[in-house]
């Protein structure tokens, strides 16, 4: 909500500025996206292009007390030489894309760990893009609850 004072300030600055304000605010927002849109943007693929594989593993809590800090560890039993990049997506986020990790043979193995934000209970996906174009994927649901005394 825009505070009263801001509203007044903007108003006295002229109606034009006020008319433009929503557009300006809007531009700093990342646009809401669906998972399909995010997959298309970052991988040029659709959900059906993903190959579910038990070679890819996600280590993450089943229940997270705070959606602001969910530890996620991705690893995969494939030679790192054959891997181009590793992706993390969270279905229920405003923008499901979380991160892209470009790996090289110097990494020794396919591994990445970080902490991510989840807007709400969501499926988290790890996708490994192989050099031959195959997309190996796995997913895990993480329940986000209220932490502390509430």
């Amino acid at each position: 909500m825009i505070s009263r004072r801001d509203l007044l300030k903007t108003a006295s600055a002229g109606a034009l500025a006020l008319l433009m304000a929503p557009a300006l605010i809007g531009s700093s927002f990342s646009r809401d996206m669906t998972l399909e849109e995010a997959l298309k943007e970052h991988l040029g693929a659709t959900l059906s292009d993903l190959t579910q594989s038990d070679k890819v593993r996600i280590k993450a809590p089943t229940i997270a007390e705070s959606g602001a800090n969910v530890p996620v560890q991705i690893s995969a039993d494939v030679p790192v030489e054959e891997v181009e990049a590793l992706y993390i997506f969270a279905d229920a986020n405003f923008n499901p894309w979380v991160t892209t990790v470009e790996l090289s043979p110097m990494n020794g193995e396919v591994f990445f760990a970080t902490r991510i934000k989840l807007a709400k209970t969501s499926v988290v996906r790890a996708i490994i893009k192989m050099k031959d174009g195959t997309l190996l994927a796995t997913s895990k649901e993480i329940k986000v609850t209220v932490g502390g005394c509430g």
């Binding site: 009263r4 004072r5 509203l7 007044l8 300030k9 108003a11 006295s12 002229g14 109606a15 006020l18 229940i63 007390e65 329940k143 986000v144 609850t145 209220v146 932490g147 005394c149 509430g150």
Partner: protein, 202 residues
């Protein structure tokens, strides 16, 4: 009231740029109000120690009685008298102990849209109930299927209004006694808890 006036003023300014004076007048009064607010804030900050001291001294005689390492009614104080004294503080709402606004009752109990959060009621901090709320405490008993237990809604009301009328020195806050919740709000919570259709009982 004032809010409406100011909003109205800014709305006029929004439509007509010529309305500048109106906006300015409003801005001046706004500024004064703001200054007043800052003054009050400063006062509050300055007296923080004083205010805290008063707040601690506000401890009532029953709280004082419970302030022992076991947090129970100490020897020398009759539990029955304690209960009676607490019972005498319970005020009932005009429309009876079962309120009408079940939705409001649910929100006060713990808003399911916010994971069971509710600042004033905050029942899920200590109790479980609605199976959708995963983050629920186990300090108090689970309230799942509460309506099926044959408890008199009046007792439920008293428990929420002043739990010490039933269990003296209990950890459950005396929500009605202190005015954290109004009698009408408590009645709505009772309605939510005793409604066979509520997620607590389904």
């Amino acid at each position: 009231m004032k809010k409406t006036v100011i909003y109205g003023a800014s709305f006029t300014a929004f439509i007509l740029i010529a309305c500048q004076p109106t906006a300015q007048k409003a801005a001046v009064s706004e500024k004064k109000e703001e200054e007043k607010k800052i003054q009050v804030k400063k006062e509050k900050k300055k007296n923080l120690a004083e205010r805290f001291k008063i707040a601690l001294a506000n401890q009532d005689k029953w709280q004082k009685a419970c302030s022992n390492p076991d947090q129970i009614v100490p020897k020398g104080i009759d539990v029955e008298t304690f209960r009676k004294e607490m019972m005498a503080t319970v005020k009932f709402p005009e429309g009876g102990v079962i309120g009408k606004d079940i939705k409001r009752g649910e929100k006060l109990f713990g808003d399911p849209d916010k994971g069971g959060r509710s600042r004033r009621g905050n029942c899920y901090a200590c109790h479980c109930g609605d199976p959708r709320i995963l983050a629920c405490g186990n300090i108090g008993p689970s309230l799942r299927g509460y309506a099926k237990r044959g408890i008199d809604p009046k007792d439920t009301y008293i428990r929420i209004y002043n739990s010490w009328a039933i269990v003296p020195c209990s950890v459950m806050p005396r929500l009605g006694y202190h005015g954290v919740l109004t009698p009408e709000e408590i009645a709505d919570i009772v309605a939510y808890m005793h409604d066979p259709e509520s997620p607590l009982n389904k």
